[in-house]
Amino acid sequence: MIKLENLKKTYNPGKIEVHALDNVSINIEEGEFLTVHGPSGSGKTTLLNILGCLDIATSGDYYFKERDVSKLSMSDLSNIRRINIGFIFQTYNLIPVLTAYENVELSLMLAHSKYKKEDILNALDDVGIKDLAKRFPREMSGGQQQRVSIARALVKSPKLILADEPTANLDSENATMIMEAMKEMNEKYNVTFIFSTHDPLVMNFAKRLIKLKDGKIETDERK
């Protein structure tokens, strides 16, 4: 589903160049559950940004569902994100003035013009918070908010979900529950999950571990 070929990302080109990614080549199949880990500054976030079509590579090719997206405009990348990619962040990034239901609905609304109320409730039910649908983010715990953000990412039935340190702000009990929920969704809907993480717990759940160092793939292990 994803194919990266000799991907490079250089900051400050022509000046003091920083190579965030240096000749990265990876193939990721549909339904994978993998982590990208490595020390700070190794290029994890940059890789996730490019995979999530939030950023573009300096050189190299990125094929998403066999389409070369490395040369697309920001507007086209926005369309790809809207329909195919869901994001989960460490800080949840829910819209504070919207309820859990409305946060999930907004994602679905952006992706598809027609939808049913049940689609939203089912997504909330999948992550076990259907009864919190009317609550605002401030009325929920960190774990509950992260579940809303998972539901928000999942509701539009994306091909890929990118999770940037999703457990970093959670205690181990909540982190385990969140990972279990995502594992379940991965198995149930065959959605590809890619995590950027330092958390050994997340790595324990992963089926594939990619380690980055200085912008290069140091190891790529499958369990």
């Binding site: 939030l54 994100r81 800080t91």
Partner: protein, 402 residues
């Protein structure tokens, strides 16, 4: 999607409730003044026009051909024979010939300039309803031979009471000075300063006799709705006279009204600009505070256009709420001026440029509701344009990392 953007925008603007409320209040103040000042000026304008048409000129005034439009009062040389133009009187139901000339009024210790208005008592009354404006004494149809009706303000300034005697001095049509002793038979208060501050009414025949101008008149006032076409018709039909509309003869007042409206528009514009800066500031601060959120919305696939729209809607809502509140505020401050009016008597005989005096009532100004709403919303949306554009250009990669 638009509905959701509206919902989101509405919720967003009340996140910084105090800031939004202050902006709305400032905006409402600007829009309120727009409604109030325009309503008041329209009240002044309408009252002035009523005073001109219903108490002074009529809708058309027929003057001698030699009449110079710059002269407020026609010169005796421009007088013309009424008998030649009786057809005009027959054509129009409401038609009144008059003779106006300038004179000096002298009491025992004060003198003042005055305008003598010789009128046919019944005809003048049928057009201008002067008898209804008599505050003391009687209209000239019931005055004694040596009695006249005097404007209330001039009577007040000369300390003339009913029955008091004064002397009128003027130069007649032959160029000779004449003086007559007259008595106050009635005091009139029309609300038109041209009448109340300057005029003395007497029967047309007496004025003709004073001016040694038997059979002559200075003008014919006509009331007719289609005054523009009737003016053309008169000018085409009759020679020796020229017809003017009330607008032709009130050019100074109309220009002044335009100028005052222009000044008030500038004032209101400046107030609205200040309020607009408030909206700009509110939306811009909102944008800075919600950078991460904007990044998330973009990550979810919201387009630049939709982000722009979201922030513009926020500005538009503030503008709409501010405008509605402003209209209500404008109506509220206008209320006492509609009911009780604006009392100009506190300024004495000061000339404010409008032919009004005493209490002038403001209008409700319903016609300003739609412009105020449209103006309010459009300006607010325009004020939001820059912050909205900046928000739309935020890069999610950077904002999500902040």
């Amino acid at each position: 999607m638009i509905r959701r953007l509206f919902t989101l925008a509405f919720k967003n603007i009340f996140r910084a409730r105090n800031r939004t409320m202050i902006t709305i209040i400032a905006y409402a103040f600007g829009i309120g003044l727009y409604v109030f000042i325009n309503s008041l000026l329209t009240g002044f304008y309408n009252t002035s026009v009523e005073n001109i048409i219903n108490k002074d000129i009529g809708e058309i005034k027929v003057m001698g051909n030699d009449y110079n439009i710059d002269d407020a009062i026609p010169l005796p040389e421009t007088f013309f024979e009424y008998t030649k133009y009786t057809d005009i009187s027959e054509q129009y139901e409401y038609c009144s010939p008059d003779m106006q000339f300038i004179a000096s009024i002298i009491t025992s210790d004060i003198s003042a300039k005055t305008v003598i208005r010789g009128v046919e008592t019944d005809k003048a009354d049928s057009i201008f309803h002067y008898s209804n404006d008599i505050v003391e004494g009687v209209w000239i149809d019931r005055c004694n031979d040596n009695e006249v009706v005097i404007g209330g303000r001039i009577a007040h300034s000369l300390n003339l009471k009913l029955g008091d005697m004064f002397t009128l001095i003027f130069k007649n049509r032959d160029g000779n000075f004449d003086a007559f002793d007259l008595n106050v038979g009635g005091i009139i208060s029309t609300g038109n300063p041209n009448i109340d501050r300057l005029s003395i009414f007497m029967p047309l025949a007496k004025a003709q006799e004073f001016m040694a101008a038997n059979g002559l008149i200075s003008g014919i006032s006509i009331k007719t709705k289609k005054y523009n076409t009737e003016k053309i018709k008169i000018n085409e039909t009759f020679t020796g006279v020229s017809a003017y509309t009330w607008e032709d003869l009130s050019e100074d007042f109309l220009n002044l009204d335009k100028m005052k409206s222009g000044f008030s528009s500038i004032l209101i514009f400046m107030i609205v600009i200040v309020a607009t800066v408030g909206i700009f500031n509110t939306i811009l601060l909102g944008m800075f505070e919600r950078k991460r959120e904007v990044g998330m919305l973009k990550a979810m696939g919201m387009s630049r256009r939709q982000i722009e729209l979201l922030f513009s809607i926020e500005g538009g809502i503030i503008g709409f709420v501010g405008s509605v509140a402003g209209i209500a505020f404008g109506f509220l401050i206008n209320l006492p001026f509609v009911i009780k009016g604006f009392d100009l008597s506190v300024y004495g005989d000061m000339d404010i440029g409008y032919p009004v005096q005493g209490v002038v009532k403001s209008l409700w100004g319903f016609e300003f509701i739609i412009p105020a709403l449209i103006l309010g919303v459009i300006i607010a949306v325009l004020a939001s344009y820059y912050p909205a554009r900046r928000a739309a250009r935020l890069e999610p990669v950077k904002t999500l990392r902040d």
